[in-house]
């Protein structure tokens, strides 16, 4: 049987109230009483019962994070880094993290959010991979549950977010390719319902337009952010005549798939075809050839989201409720052979 406040109270001969206050550090407890209580609590191995505290305080000091898992072969370098950032920052603030996973494309997604919110399991949530029309955001906004997102959305209403400027990123990488002499540039976008797909497409088109290069609509394609998806999309692109001489992938994982497709086509990546990604996952500098990509500080973003959310929960006003970070173009040999 775990030690409770009552056990301590009985032992030291004070009331539960006093024990509670002493432990909570209130200053209306006699110095000596406090010392006695603290020491006894220590000796008896007291640790507060968190659910009881949650009930009484009507808050959980717990954050929720829902992640979509893409089947048995799920593996997402992006996600583990974000999770690490969120989790480590939460721990720093003595917050717990409740993670709910759900199989992909199921109605279970909103379900998972509702479950956490309705049961008052969490005080706030972190959302990632925001969508243009995002029911999760709409739901939390409607429920007035605090949350912070990685990514913007067109959902009506204001909410705190951190995002990486995908449009600026794509302008950079597209310009880079154009500078390298490419004119036939293709792009494999993230799924169109994801908000960041839009921005990246816009950046791509803007950079092409400013150089007065035509955008071949057949070269604007979509992939599901997996290696497979990148591979397949790249194959389709390379089968065309004329084929593009450069491919920008929506993330590094798809870029890796594209590299594989190009190689199968007998092309030397970096020399005969340029391929670029987005994210700069750890693997990116170790692909063959190393991958040109746009770096986003994923771990830091996780920490930041977590900090913002906790500040919000503490009733603080955010100085910067909307943070737009600039991605950094990292040039490697997949676009510049001699880099």
């Amino acid at each position: 049987m775990p030690v409770t406040l009552r056990d301590i109270a009985e032992k030291v001969g004070y009331s539960i109230t006093t024990v509670s206050r002493a432990l909570a550090g209130y200053d209306d407890v006699a110095e000596e009483t406090r010392r006695l209580i603290l020491q006894t609590a220590q000796e008896m191995g007291y640790h507060p019962n968190i659910p009881a505290r949650q009930l009484q305080r009507r808050r959980t000091d717990t954050l929720g994070f829902v992640i979509a898992t893409f089947g048995p072969r799920f593996s997402d370098p992006f996600l583990s880094e974000l999770l690490a950032g969120i989790g480590n920052e939460a721990a720093r603030h003595e917050f717990d993290l409740l993670v709910a996973t759900h199989p992909p494309r199921s109605a279970n997604e909103l379900h998972a959010y509702r479950r956490l919110v309705r049961g008052r399991r969490v005080d706030g949530l972190i959302i990632t991979r925001t969508r243009v029309h995002d029911e999760r955001i709409a739901y939390l906004l409607e429920q007035k549950v605090p949350f912070a997102t990685f990514g913007r959305s067109e959902v009506e209403g204001d909410f705190p977010w951190v995002d990486v400027d995908g449009e600026a990123g794509l302008v950079q990488v597209t310009r880079h390719l154009i500078q390298q002499g490419h004119r036939r540039i293709a792009i494999i976008l993230p799924p169109a319902d994801l908000m960041f797909s839009r921005f990246r497409e816009a950046g791509f088109r803007r950079a092409m337009a400013e150089s007065e290069l035509p955008v071949q609509e057949a070269w604007v394609t979509w992939g599901d952010l997996t290696e497979q998806g990148g591979y397949q999309a790249a194959r389709r692109l390379l089968d065309q005549h004329p084929a593009p001489t450069a491919i920008i992938a929506g993330n590094d994982v798809m870029a890796i798939g594209a590299i594989r497709a190009a190689r199968e086509h007998g092309l030397t990546v970096g020399r005969e075809i340029a391929i670029a990604g987005f994210d700069d996952i750890p693997m990116a500098e170790h692909t063959t050839p190393p991958l040109t990509t746009l770096r986003q500080p994923i771990y830091e973003i996780g920490r930041r989201l977590c900090r913002m959310l906790i500040a919000l929960l503490r009733g603080e006003t955010l100085e910067h409720p909307h943070v737009l970070l600039q991605p950094e173009l990292v040039i490697r040999q997949s676009t510049v052979p001699e880099a």
Copy 2:
């Protein structure tokens, strides 16, 4: 203000108790009363307050999972797959999952476990990457907190686990290499304190011995399970004279690093040097060349661990408290060029 049992009770004119029982599906409530209560609850949008229930029931229906995050560039394909398995299975049983992360090599690891246990935040835990002497296991055993592990340990005492037979796996892959004509075989082991490092080493030595091949002690090395670690270890191996003609890496991620090192050494992987991994992460079939490896059903293991733990929490006796799965040797071109 969320709706409580009391609100419903007042509305329908029954006691809180009756409402509670009707909602819980007890059969000692009049059919009509139950219908009325159910409908009213529905209309009012009632959802139980979970912390209150946890307090009263003295259980949380929550599982704990603590993960070590290796710094800002943390990315672990293995872990996201395991997490997906655990999380999805937990959801199926209406269990929540509390994830605690901690920066690596910190005293924070045990801290995280203690926090979850002491605060009665979770009913049980899942442990991964078990160690030969594992303080986490010792702690949970001592506290009599239910848990299940991925991997065995030499810690005194019995506990449920699922493991993959690394020794058998290494016998298989080593034999395979020997069959391919290799005699100078090196190995990059996982850190020696991890239990599975032992088994793999044993398997390697057994297979070498049965073919009466000498094990060069300089060719038995260790890596930290990262790409970098694999790369560095492989470099050191390849700098030796004579150099090994085959390298077995402790996991696929290190194998990928080893492939990079070999390529930098001007070697054609699969032809001039054979490299094998362990895990069969999704990326393994997409490396260049595709990687020979030992497949472990990580997602399934996650589900299984979760199921075992939940069964345990329900007071059931496990029919198979110790599950040893056989890894499957997947032969690809990193060891057999024409595969």
